[in-house]
């Protein structure tokens, strides 16, 4: 049996709030016997969730009320200062005081990062927590970070991202030596900017399985598991991917609806088209980890539905079971002195 873990879920976050979170919670409890969940939300929301759960999960489903919710467009500073009893904050506090092994929220990214950083603190040797997520690749997922938490990174920061990414990818892909690449604009040593070139030198000495520079198209190739970049570049790459995928899927739809004949062709090719849709379904990749903190915090996409939110919960469960923060702490400790900030 898998190690028992408890995950706190912010029931109020995201565009759909409890409409997505509660069914995702029940589905998780149904499928994973060793997972317990704590739903955090406004009392009336929890009451309704209790009725939906019908006492089916005993002690594996608990409830923790919070008196307020962080708005999706609220500033991180305002959420941090003024909403001390928000569902987002209470979920993180549960991780802090050991009542939960991880938390998941589909709420405001900035507020989640600011609150998690304030409550949980960053790990020793980590300057800045980062955002990491799986993205689809030709032969399986690739893990990318940073996806937007940090702009203007130094080579030291990129090294720290690489260390954290290596732990996450290793745990999620169940591989001991994930291959780490640095996002750059050419594969030759002289290309790109100075920060990336310096980070390449640090990575050569890091003990990680560093495979060198990777260009934008290399993210999807089978020869790399972790792609490291500054948060500005990583965020642009991530959003660009989403944009291209959406454009292609709208072109697919258009071409199969051009006229009656095309519609019939589409019906006939339905299983293949569904296969394609499924393989590219962003919901299967939902859930970005805020890494570098003393605790596991997962950010679900704000637009996540029940299925997508469940994916994020699954990632939280794996990261909690594997103890990602402890592993990152150990990896940092074993780094050569010159690679780690004082």
């Amino acid at each position: 049996m898998s190690r028992k873990v408890t995950i706190a879920l912010d029931a109020m976050g995201g565009d759909r709030g409890p409409e997505a979170v509660v069914p995702a919670a029940l589905a998780t409890l149904e499928k994973d016997d060793s997972a317990s969940l704590v739903l955090v939300g406004l009392p009336e929301i929890l009451e309704k969730a209790k009725r939906q759960a019908k006492d089916s999960y005993g002690n594996r489903l608990r409830f923790k009320s919070a008196s307020e919710a962080v708005a999706m467009d609220e500033s991180p500073a305002s959420a941090l200062k003024k909403k001390k009893d928000s569902s987002l904050r209470v979920a993180i506090e549960l991780v802090k005081n050991g009542e939960a092994d991880a938390c998941v929220s589909a709420g405001n990214t900035g507020a989640l990062m600011a609150t998690a950083r304030y409550v949980l603190k960053t790990l020793p040797g980590i300057d800045r927590p980062a955002i990491i997520s799986a993205v689809p690749g030709i032969a399986g997922p690739t893990y990318m970070l940073d996806l937007g938490a940090n702009v203007g990174c130094t080579s030291q920061h990129l090294l720290q991202f690489a260390l954290m990414g290596s732990v996450v990818a290793g745990d999620m892909l169940e591989t001991s030596r994930p291959r780490v690449g640095l996002l750059n604009i050419g594969q030759e040593d002289m290309k790109g900017n100075e920060v990336v070139r310096e980070a390449g030198e640090l990575l050569e000495r890091s003990g990680l399985n560093y495979v060198g520079f990777v260009e934008g198209d290399g993210i999807f190739h089978a020869d790399v598991d972790v792609v490291v970049s500054d948060g500005f570049v990583g965020n642009v790459a991530l959003k660009t991917m989403e944009g291209v995928a959406r454009m292609i899927s709208s072109i697919l739809k258009e071409e199969f609806h051009k006229n009656v004949l095309r519609g019939v062709q589409g019906l006939i090719a339905k299983s293949a088209l569904e296969g394609i849709r499924e393989r590219l379904d962003p919901r299967r990749y939902n859930g970005a980890s805020l890494v570098g903190l003393n605790g596991v915090v997962l950010k679900s996409h704000g637009s996540a539905d029940e299925f997508a939110f469940e994916t994020a919960v699954k990632t939280a469960i794996v990261e909690a079971r594997k103890g990602v923060p402890v592993q990152i702490g150990k990896l940092i400790e074993n780094q050569p002195k010159e690679c780690i900030p004082a």
Copy 2:
């Protein structure tokens, strides 16, 4: 009738060299009566091309021999210093001395940029030439720059890119006020890095049709014609697009070849699948302009075939007809003083 223009073609550049360039040249002459071409290459290559052309185009097809070719992996410095009679250089010299209105090469990007900059010089008010290309969007092409010539740009550089991009997009899309966006990691004013925020302020005062920040997925939306970024970010975004498109097309292939039934479905859906392939065909977008120089220089993808190279030649013809460099010069002259470097 369209204005007569003469385009110099580097017959030696690219992975296929004259195999792609010569047929593309003949196809261009066939379709565009007001275009003349000068093929630049080694004497034996030109001899063969002459035989292929069979005197069909009279004075519209001329030949200029060069004694050497720049290798695809040659360093820009070496090409510039040691290959003064290369086909790439001779094609650019033809633009310099007025014998051609533009040149096109599928050769080494670094060598092309270094040589073009050295021979043609940058326009007054432009610090750094940039690379611009059309990328497919939902409602038509979007023009992106810089695609990799410049890393570590200042807000001034981004403004200059915006001015140049506006001219190119205006000419290519035949619109007088192309909408210009700045690539950023959030649409709110406070998001992103300082250089981009400062560039946004400069753009507000520039007189361009500035529409604000655009995220990675916004590149493909219908509400922007030009997307401006640092060359590092732009190159990563471009390569990421290429990677996603290639991945999706390989998934399409896989799904329609999974078994015999799927193969039959693929045959039935053939016209739709071909429609999709055609709309996403990167060859339809081949050809990046090196803008900011005293002359029109087009870079074709190294792997371009005849059809792709012809697309690049078409772009060169339009830019030459419209006089892109002169237009950029005028736009720069009319900028407020604080927007332009001394």
